[in-house]
Each structure stands twice: as C-alpha cells, then as structure tokens.
C-alpha cells in the first residue's frame, strides 16, 4: 500500500532539500522557485520554472446527458470552467461583441439560478413531499377556505449566509380579515371602521393589521389577535358620548332629518299652500312616490358622487316633483 506512494515520495525528497536551502538564503525581493513537483512538468526548456499552467476547463469532460443538479447543487457563483454554455455578457465596444464568459465580472455580479433548473426543482419537490400532509378534502375552493378560515396571517422568514440566523425583519406579522365574515351590525361596523382608520380598505372590505412592535414573531401574532378581539368587542359597545354624533361624523349620507328633507318639505308645503291644498300632512307628503324617488336620487348623489347616472336621476326626480315634465 505504501508502494503506490513511495516513488513520488522519493522524487520529492532530494528536490525539496536543495530548494529549501535556496529559499532561505534568498532575499524577499526575488521570487524563489516553488518546491512542488508540479513545476517539474511545466518548466520550459531553459530550466527556469515558468508560471503554473492551468488545466483545460472541465466543461470539455462533461457528458451531454450528465446530471446537472449534481454539478450545481447549491447556490454558487458563476464558474466559467464549470458551466458548459457559451454565454456572453457585457456592453460591446464599437463593432465588437459582448465579452466571453472567462473572467467576466458581470456574470459574477448577478445572481444566477443554475442550481434551480426545472429538473432540480422537480426533484426537490419530490423529496419534500414526505414532509407535507394532505390538503383537507373539504377545502377545495377559495370561498370555502375563506369561509372556514376567515383570518389570514402573513409572516416572512429570511435566510442569509453568515454566522447569525436572526433577522429583525422576520418579526413582522400581517393579519387580514374580511369584515363580512365578522358578526357586526351596522353601528358596530361603522364604529370599527372609524376605530381602525386607514387599515380598512373599502373596495375589498378587508381589514389589515400589521404589527411589528414586539421583538418576536409570536408575540406580534398574539398582539394582532388581541387587537382584533378588542376591536370587535369595543365596536359592539355603545358609549355615552356616541349619542352626540353629529352630521359631520356620519360616514354616509342619511336622508332622515337632513337639511334636504327639510328643504323639500318646505318647498312642497309652500307649493301646496299656494295651491290652497293643505290636506296633506308631512308623513303623507314624504310617503309619495315622487318624494321617494327624490330621496333616492339625493342619497345616491351624495354617497356616490357626481356622475352621469346620479345627476340624470336627480334631474328626473326634481322634474317630477315640481311637475315640470
């Protein structure tokens, strides 16, 4: 067993002794020859050891049907001697071509996904199937998921190369819930929306709570759930001072007891008085169809804003009301 090693060992010994003596006496300015047997193969005819020559890149030895995920199993920098593709990158000089891959810094700077080819991803997924459990059979559509599990939690984990596995950005927790799935009546909903302010999106009816005030993710999660609970309970309660809600606090326009109602009543009464028709009372006036229509158009105009439909509706209703068809 030592025979395999012995001849090379013998070859090494005499050279090493002479060269070591040489290198200790040499001043640091001059380069002493390296006492390694590789230089014996790469010396020129003139006896002076030349620079070590590089091997041919190992792309030449690669088979066409090799197992690529084994060549790049993990995220690694781009190695031109390992990637058998004639890739070019870089801004070409005038009448030139982009630079080749050897020694190309641009290819090194960008992140490469040579370790995540579709074949590799398929293999990884196959291997990771053991860690997964089955999806519940009852949850086969999005609506059912939302129905059974109305609250959605988003968390993010971070992985980086370094001695520490902690990342302060990982503590953020985002909680999303649709208000339609919560059991809120009208007052509770309005109060909740007022309480949360910006966190409620009207178009999608989603309340988003994002917490990062605690140092740990689970603490933030607990805090988010606590906030949701508190909001829910508080919105069901009615405080004393809520009775003092003025018109300026209203979220949407309410016809009852509004100035528009008063105005139209006055107008109609005046019209009726001019026509000497004092039989109708307020409630009956309000109950007529024309006034109903007017009410609807005013409410839609105030709530939805000005657009073609609402304005034309208002015009029609006013005309009907004032008998101006």
């Amino acid at each position: 067993m030592a025979a395999a090693r012995l001849p090379a060992f013998l070859v090494l010994q005499p050279r090493a002794r002479t060269l070591r003596a040489f290198s200790t006496s040499v001043s640091p300015a001059t380069r002493s020859p390296r006492p390694s047997p590789s230089t014996t193969e790469r010396t020129s005819k003139y006896g002076r050891p030349l620079r070590r020559k590089a091997l041919p890149p190992r792309t030449e030895k690669m088979a066409v049907d090799q197992d690529w995920p084994s060549v790049y199993p993990v995220a690694a920098p781009f190695k031109p001697s390992v990637v058998p593709l004639p890739v070019r990158m870089g801004y070409p000089v005038k009448r030139g071509v982009p630079m080749a891959k050897e020694g190309n810094l641009e290819l090194l700077k960008i992140p490469n996904f040579l370790h995540l080819t579709p074949v590799a991803i398929k293999k990884h997924c196959e291997a990771l199937k053991d860690f997964c459990t089955e999806w519940p059979a009852a949850l086969d559509s999005d609506e059912k998921c939302r129905k059974h599990f109305p609250i959605e939690i988003d968390t993010t984990g971070y992985v980086s190369a370094g001695p520490s596995i902690r990342n302060p950005k990982a503590r953020v927790v985002t909680l999303r819930v649709e208000l339609s799935s919560l059991n809120l009546d009208d007052h509770a909903k309005k109060k909740l929306i007022k309480l949360v302010g910006d966190r409620y999106c009207k178009s999608t009816d989603v309340l988003t709570i994002k917490t990062d005030r605690c140092p740990l993710k689970r603490q933030n999660y607990d805090y988010a759930m606590y906030l949701l609970t508190v909001l829910y309970h508080e919105s069901w309660k009615t405080e004393e001072w809520e009775k003092k809600k003025t018109e300026a606090d209203m979220e949407e326009y309410v016809w009852k007891d509004s100035s528009s109602e008063k105005n139209i009543l006055e107008t109609l009464l005046q019209i009726k008085a001019a026509e000497k028709n004092l039989e109708l009372s307020k409630e009956e006036l309000l109950g007529t169809e024309a006034v109903e229509e007017y009410r609807k158009s005013v409410v839609s105009l105030k709530n939805e804003g000005d657009n073609e439909n609402t304005l034309s509706q208002y015009k029609e209703s006013v005309k009907r009301l004032l008998n101006l068809t």
Binding site: A2, E41, S44, P56, A127, L128, F131, A138, H148, P163
Partner: protein, 690 residues
Amino acid sequence: MAAVHSARWLRVRRGLCLPLTGRRAAICGRAPSSRFYSGSAAVPEVEGAGATGTEEVVIPKKKTWDKVAVLQALASTVHRDATAAPYAFQDDPYLIPTSSMESHSFLLAKKSGENAAKFIINSYPKYFQKDIAEPHIPCFMPEYFEPQIEDISEAALQERIKLRKVKASVDMFDQLLQAGTTVSLETTNSLLDLLCYYGNQEPSTNYNFQQREQAEELEEATEGNNEKPQKAAGHELGVTWRAKNNAERIFALMPEKNAHSYCTMIRGMVKHRAPTQALNLYTELLNNRLRADVHTFNSLIEATAFVVNEKLEEKWNNILDLLKQMVAQNVKPNLQTFNTILKCLRRFHAIGKLPALQTLREMKAIGIEPSLATYHYIIQLFYQHENPSKGSSLIIYDIMNELMGKKFSPKDPDDDMFFQSAMRVCSSLRDLELAYQVHDLLNTGDNRKFIGPDHRRNFYYFKFFGLLCLMEQIDVTLKWYKDLIPSVFFPHSQTLIDLLQALDVANRLELIPQIWKDSKEYGHSFRRDLKEEILMLMARDRHPPEVAFADCAADIKSTYESQDARQTAPSWLASSLNCIAVLFLRAGRTQEAWKMLGLFRKHNKIPGNELLNEFMDSAEASGSPAQAIEIVKLAGAFSLPICESLTQRLMADFTLSQEQKEALGDLTALTSDSDSDSSSDSDNDVGKGK
C-alpha cells in the same frame, strides 16, 4: 451574502369565539405529532366524513422533524459530480491539484492557515471578544489555555488536569503534598489518568497525529518480521514507560487505592509498552480483592500478546485464562475485547485461524455486533501471506455475503482499514464480482467514511481499477475510468499502463492519444515507462488514425527534449526513437522523420532494421537517392549487418549519379571488414563498370 425571502402562509386554525352557525372549524393547535423525517405519512383525524351538505374540515396533524431533515432530504437528490475535484479545493482550472502530492500539500496549506488563525485568536483573545453569531458558536471564540487559578489548592490541580498540563499538574500535586493537604481520591485518580494517558510526557500539538502514524508503522514492522520486533521497534517509536516515573511514584504515594487507580495504571503501562509490569500490577489488583473493568481486561489481553519470549500456545492459554477471570469477576466483554483478541491473534499466523473463528462465533453468541475492524483482522489473518499456489481460503466470500447491504457506524479506530484489505484480497484472487460487492458495500449508506486517509483510498482504487482493467470489458472499464479519474484518485503510472494494456487487448488503440492527453494533466509527462508503453503500442502495427498518433508522438518527443535540456542523464531509449520515427513516416511527415535520424546519431542509439527498411521505402516513394544514401551511411556508421542488404537494395532500386556511387563505394569499402568482402568488391566493379 444573498438574502432569500420566503413567504409562508399560515392559515389560522383557531376557532374564533363567535358562533359560526352550522359550521365548525376543526380545532387543531400546534400540537406536534411525533413525526420525524422517515417517510411515513401522518395520521389525519377522520371524523364522520362527508354528510351531504355540511362537510367537516379535517385538519391532519402537523409533522415534525429534526433540524437537518430538510437538508438531508434535499441532499438526497444530488450525486457526486464525476468531473469535479473534491469540494475542499477551489474549483478553478488553475487551482485544482493535479497529483496526490499536490492535493496533500494544498490540504495541509489550508489546515495550516486555519491553525495559524486559531493561534492568533488564542494568543490575543482580547481583540476577538465580539460575538455576532446567533446562536452562539463556541469554537469561534478564543480558548484559554493558561490556568487561571494561581494559588495552591485542589481546584488549581483539577484545572491543570483539565487543561492537560502534565508537568504543571505534577508540580502542583507535589506542592500540595508538601504543604500537607491531602488530595482527594478522585483528583488523584484523574491525575493518574492524565499521566497514564500521555505517558508522563507533555502532550505536543501534533500528538494525535504522531500517535496514529507510529501505531501504523509499528504494525507494519511487526507484520514484516515475525518474532523479533518488540525490542527493536518499540524503543524508537513512541513513548515508552520508564520505570520509577511520575505515575508510579504518585501511585506509590497514594494512601488508599481503589480499583480505578489500578486500572488506570495497567492501561497506561500497556499503552506505553510495559506489558510485564502491567501483568504484575494486575496480580496485585487481584490480591487486593478488587475488580477490574472491561477496558482494563482489554489492555491485559493486549499485554499478554506483547510479552516476549513466550510460545504462541502459552499466550493463547493466557488469554483464555484472562477471559475466564473476566467471567468470574462478572465483567461483560464488549466489542473492543474481541477486537483486541483478534488483533493479537493476527500475530499467531497459521495457528491463529481456528481461535479467530471461535472468537467470532463467541461474539455472535453473546450478541455483540462485529464492526468492520473485526472483519479486517480476520481477513489479515487468513490472507496474510498471499500464496495462491497453496490455495486461499474462501472466507472472504462468507464475509462479503454477511456484510452485504449493511450500514456501519464507527466503533473501532481500525474500522477504516477494512476496505483496503478487502480490495487487496479481491485483487490477489482476481475476482471481479467480489470487488464489485466490496465497492457496493462502500457505497451503501454512509460507509464511504470508512475509506480512510489519502494513501489508503489511493491504494483501494489502485487495486480496484487494476482489477477492472484486467478483467472487465473495455466499455465498462472506460466508464469507470471517466468516473473515478481524476475526481476520486490520481492514477499512478502503473494504472495507466494497465489501462493501455486493456485497450490493447480490446483493440481500441485509437483512444491512446486521449489517454496521453489525460496523463499529461495528472503530471505523468516525465514517466519514462508510460511513454515507452504508449509509443510501443502505437507503433506496433499500422492503425487508421495515423495523424493523431503522429501528433501524440510529436508531443512525447517534445517532452523528452525538454527533459533533456534540464538533465544530463540521457533519457532516450532506442525503442522510443524507433517508434517515433516510424509513426512520423506512417503519417507522411517525412521532414520530421528525417530529423529523427539526426537524433539517432546524436544520442548514439541504434536504429532498428524495420525502421531502416521503412526509410528506404519512403526514400523510394519520394524518389531521392540522396536520402537513400544517408540511410546507408547511417547504417554504415553503426556497423549494422543490414548495411549490406541496404546497399544492394540501393543499387537495385535507385538510379545513382557518379559522385553518389563514389561515395557509396567508399562507404562500402569501409564496412567491408566483415564477411561481405566479395559482394562489395563485385558491387564496386559493377558500379565502376557503369
């Protein structure tokens, strides 16, 4: 440092405290099931499934696994890259090592860098206090090697023992005794442990490295000579136990000794090669009616084998005695016991075979699983002197049948010698199937770890590949060649010669230029035997890829020349010159071929007969008589017997001018000292006549 974001969705599975009419979200908190990464599915809770309308949502229990399970699963999707160098090296064509010497020195360089860094960190610990690693990594922090407690006390002694400072702890012990304080039994025992382990010497920094090397050398030495070794080899290598050293002194000073003290002393003595004293101490132990533990018995078994001047049967009987005493003292043997017995039996050569099998049977009867070292000792015992004429034992087949498919874990320091000895046996038996079995065993599970250090791995693959070249079909051999070389081992020139001979047998000589190109990469450009083999194979018969062969020959010629320029000893051989010239001629490179003739003269080597004939043919083909005359001159200069037939041919086939004939005449006159007098005279007459 690339940061990768991974968003993870987690549906909350808690029931909110609201009445959800009719539906009930299944309750599943984070209750972990005991599911580790082993591939079997978790247990879902199946409640009354699927009544029409209202469906129960069953959430299966979450699986748990240990920290590296995911990484292991992903790692199982990749295999070894056959073109890559081992991962420890930088993957750059300029920085990959090209021979085993280089790879060894690169790894040593890397390790020495690490050691230098550790040295700096430990010398100036106050600059390396900042710890950014989370969770804490202890080996990144500086270590403290100096004892902190300065006063004379037992705690100080314990600290010095813990820091492995032999001399300091002995001094501290002496100081304690002088001061009059009694040292407790445990502390004294641990001091004895320290002294016996290191043999009363300070542990040096490459202590472990030296120990292993010396142990191996001792093994080889004892294998070489049969009975003499201990006295000669023992004292030069390693630490020996001197009488009246510190350990014995302290031992004698101890007021009370328990079994542990005796055991430590015995083990220390055996480790440092003082077997007789160890046995004496053992009898003292028995006289004090104390019991020894299993490790001590293992050492004693080794001691009985080491004792000189005893016959083998006596030694075996002593070992059996010890085993009986072990039973009497109710001490259970362990794996080390049996391995030690087998190791000692190895020295008994032929007599040891039967006891070895008995030991193995006993081991299995008790229920101790044999380790790879056990089988290694058995192989060594049965196949020690490779003498196929006597008929080898067939025990290797039984061993391999038993070991197939088993995965091993390291249990004995000699476990890594098994594969080497198994492959050696396969190679000597010339059995390829068995070699494949051994290789399969190497590749099951984690057994790859048992291949051992560099030289053992190289030996294993050297033998394996040699066997493949010898016995396997050429296509399969070439596949193994691409797979193993150079990513697993660097081939010896003998390996390449074997491969070339296999190519020869299979008539695939067109691959020779490729092999030559590869061998240049592995640093074999100056191996004379390899180059000669290549040239000889190429030049032997006519082969189609003549151009490629000629290129290869030119390459080899240039290596010869560069070697010549540096060394004074001539490296050319006549046969290689012959081959190169022939190859040039066949490829039609007549210019270079003619230059070769000059080289013949320069190095004073004799050209072969066929070569000269071929030169004549080519001169005829190109129709230049001057060249033909050159050849004849050369033949004449060397006084070759063929000169005469060449001259005749020259006369017959070529038309010569007058000066040429004159020159020819002189030449033949010079060489006419030999028996071809009359013929040359007649030639002259004929020439003059024309």
